[in-house]
Amino acid sequence: MNIRRLTLTQKRSLLGVVFILPWLLGFVFLFATPLFQSIHFSFSNLKIAPGGGYTLDFIGWGNFKNALSVDPNFNRILTQSLSEMAWNVPMILFFSLFTATLLNTKFVGRPFARAVFFLPVILASGAIAAAQTSGLIQLTGSSEVAKELGQQQNGFDPLSLAFTLSDAGMPMWFIDYIISAVQRIYEIIKSSGVQILIFLAALQSVPISMYEVAKMEGATAYETFWKITFPMVSPLILTNIIYTIIDSFTNSQVTTTIYNTAFQAQNFGLSAAMSWIYTAVISVVLIIVGILVSRKVFYYN
């Protein structure tokens, strides 16, 4: 095939393939191959040979059965991180949208506030957080005391807030939710950095003329938010929900359990099965959320 004989369109498409070639090679050898191997492993009993190779015995659904009914912790950890996610995602989403709107308005000291608000993106990390808690445990000798101490250091009394809210006639579950949000405000801030960035970028792309029209018509800030800002950023709500779900799963206990099953218990087949159960659960959650949210989302075009 002579390269000079190709039409311009064909040349262009060939060039496009050249551009994505590094990724494509990486995808085939570093993603797709391990992915299929991982499916294979999950149905097998894997033994690593000391020389560098490994042997596989096919055992069917055995690993999956083990993960779901024999392993004492896996079920509990999986449901726990699922419910934590259901609890956290709305909070993170609400907080990041609120913060993004806050940071988008003009005020004195905005550059400083922005710099501070994105600091958690830099600092939120498994290694540092782990060392921080273990440092505190070291100090007090037990994890329970460390937890209590951490809450005391907040200098915040949740009871008084609970009484105020229940006097105001709020339902109990809502009070619970608000209080847990207040108590874990640092965690929420830490895990919403990227989401704030995404919302901020979305807010910047809303045409200013829309706000001008609203102002001329005499809309209040509240109305402007619900009639213009919210619908305009709603597609990004879906993006952010997906990002938050994935993020909360990658930092969850389940990942640690899967890791320990493989490298401490040396049960590679079981670990692969666990990770596939986990992947399936995430996919189901993402599909359900995706369908539910995309119905409500408004696309401006």
Binding site: W23, F27, P34, L35, F41, F117, A127, A131, L136, Q138
Partner: protein
């Protein structure tokens, strides 16, 4: 026919104006309280660590001291540096993070440009696969990747040539560098997505002009498109660097014995207990223990030492970073 009462209408408008004004003033105050409060929550742990780092042992037992130490000392910093073996560790980690970041930015920008600007059969399916790499949890690929790099071999070439089982790449920087170079490293899918969104927003006329002036596709990319892609480049470089620096998952999978900051920091509490008595010169052995409060101080100082390069870097780039995110078209 009734004449509209202009007087009362004017009063009504004025009242409404006054109300709007007071509401917006209240909102302004509320906003400042919130912003200052949240900033405080974010900065407080760092300030606390700073305070601990320069505190003397005596000061932790003195409850009247808040934040600013009375006995100012560099002792903690010295001990923490000794336990961490700080400067060689930092150099190593920075070099490692910088090289993977460079490779990631290079490979992901190429892929992002390819997906944004060219039409070739199967493009949409391939891009769906990029999104898939973001969605599949890393733990799914963990075991095969580990085995793969334990006996690294491409299509069995090494096995054919030497008859051995391939090269053991664990505890080298090979696995991370290879995955980064082929755009499949840590969070690569996200970076490809960011680049693609940005390049899609660039006007087509620029490329057409370059083409007519005789520049080939690769030259157009390097001389025209890439210099204009500063916003996504900054975003990707910062993310890639920071996440690589902090990454514990791949680091403990591939490099558990290497000198990397994240590995050392996560084992810091144990290391301090083990090495501090020797460094302080009060003897070695399992029975010699240092005051647990001091251990905790040194762990805190070590964490501060670990994150301080990131904070320093962030102070330099944060302005460009926030601006660039707004323009990098994460939104599309």
């Amino acid at each position: 026919m009734k004449v509209p009462d202009l007087q009362s209408e004017a009063v009504l408008i004025q009242m409404q104006k006054a109300r709007n004004k007071s509401v917006s003033l209240l909102w302004l105050i509320f906003r400042y309280i919130l912003i200052i409060g949240i900033s405080f929550i974010i900065l407080y742990p760092i300030l606390q660590q700073l305070s601990v780092a320069f505190k003397d042992k005596m000061d932790i037992y003195n409850p009247t001291i808040y934040m600013i130490p009375v006995h100012f000392t560099m002792e903690n910093v010295r001990y923490a540096m000794a336990v961490l073996n700080y400067w060689p560790l930092l150099k190593n980690t920075l070099l490692f993070a910088a090289s993977t970041t460079f490779l990631q930015a290079a490979s992901c920008s190429l892929a992002g440009y390819g997906f944004a600007r060219f039409n070739f059969p199967g493009k949409n399916i391939l891009f769906t696969l990029v999104v898939l790499t973001i969605l599949i949890p890393t733990s799914t690929l963990m075991v095969p990747m580990y085995i793969h790099f334990r006996a690294f071999d491409i299509l069995g070439i090494i096995h054919l040539a030497t008859g051995k089982e391939g090269i053991n790449m664990l505890n080298t920087y090979g696995p991370s560098l290879i995955t980064a170079a082929f755009a499949n490293g840590l969070k690569s899918g996200l970076y490809i997505y960011i680049f693609r969104q940005f390049f899609r927003g660039m006007p087509a006329e620029i490329e057409e002009a370059a083409l007519i002036d005789g520049a080939g596709g690769i030259r157009t990319f390097f001389t025209i498109m890439l210099p204009n892609a500063i916003p996504p480049l900054i975003t990707v470089i910062l993310f890639a660097f920071v996440w690589q620096y902090n990454d514990i998952f791949y680091a403990s999978l591939f490099n558990s014995a290497s000198d990397l900051m994240s590995i050392k920091v996560s084992s810091l509490p144990a290391d301090v207990n083990q090495y501090l008595p020797g460094i302080m010169g009060i003897g070695t052995g399992t029975n010699v223990k240092v005051d647990p409060n001091q251990v905790s101080m040194i762990v805190d100082t070590g964490i501060l030492l670990a994150i301080s390069p990131l904070i320093a870097m962030y102070l330099f780039v944060q302005r460009f970073f926030v601006e660039s995110v707004e323009r990098s078209g994460v939104v599309g």
